[in-house]
């Protein structure tokens, strides 16, 4: 069983997931920054087409709520 420690704040965690989601008091950040919504296209540039598609998907998702 692998134990996990944060090398910056020295806290120990029982799982990798617990480490990834801790807000580190030393760095001030969380190893997993921000889970992206699934409708957001991957890549650093959003083309207009992708934005339209994302908005459409979001609208469809809302309609199903």
């Amino acid at each position: 069983m692998l134990k996990h420690i944060c090398g910056q704040c020295n806290k120990a965690f029982s799982s990798e997931k617990a480490y990834l989601h801790h807000q580190c008091p030393t760095t001030g950040s969380t190893p997993v920054q921000s889970p992206l919504p699934q409708t957001q296209p991957k890549g650093s540039k959003l083309t207009e087409k992708n934005i339209v598609a994302a908005v459409r998907t979001l609208r469809q998702a809302k309609q199903h709520v």
Partner: protein, 168 residues
């Protein structure tokens, strides 16, 4: 958003190891611990450092699509009578399975650590130099060790470099 990549170090018995994430240094010394105080655990001249077992860890790919082309090397003077050995290599590569770090001469770190940027990847992902990480994940283990002779002098420091390509 750029990917979040950290360097992790694994220590301890292979049956119950500890993984220290986002290490603050790669100090080499006589004991098996991350973020080591080298003054407390010096390498005895004629002896070796304990092996380091480290990995690149992509904790968040962000808006990028892949991380690959991993290169490791050292820069700065190591001083005479000391050599820096590694498992990193640009050819005949095979990933290394974690074994309890040892201060005996490493059988895994059999190559000289490069002293300038390698021309191509020298650390793999998934056992291959052409491997990629496209979400979150780890590289193969980088194993390295300092080996000295009896006439080695204290006081040298060298810098480890860890480089990767990030594709948007």
């Amino acid at each position: 958003m750029a990917a979040t990549v950290e360097i992790d170090e694994q220590n301890g018995n292979s049956g119950s190891p500890t993984l220290t994430h986002n290490i603050g240094n790669s100090n080499m010394g006589s004991t098996d611990t991350a973020n080591m105080n080298p003054t407390a655990y010096p390498i005895v001249p004629g002896g070796n450092s304990c092996e380091k077992w480290q990995r690149f860890h992509v904790t968040d790919i962000g808006t990028s699509t892949r991380i690959n082309n991993l290169k490791v090397w050292r820069s700065g003077s190591l001083g005479a009578d000391a050599i820096h050995m590694t498992n990193a290599r640009t050819s005949d590569y095979g990933g290394s399975t974690y074994a309890t770090p040892t201060a005996d001469p490493s059988t895994v770190a059999s190559q000289i650590m490069p002293t300038s940027t390698p021309g191509s990847a020298n650390l793999g992902i998934g056992g291959s130099l052409s491997g990629t990480i496209s979400s979150s994940g780890y590289s193969d283990f980088l194993v390295h060790q300092i080996q000295t002779t009896a006439t080695a002098l204290a006081g040298n420091s060298t810098t480890m470099n860890y480089q990767y390509d990030e594709t948007a």
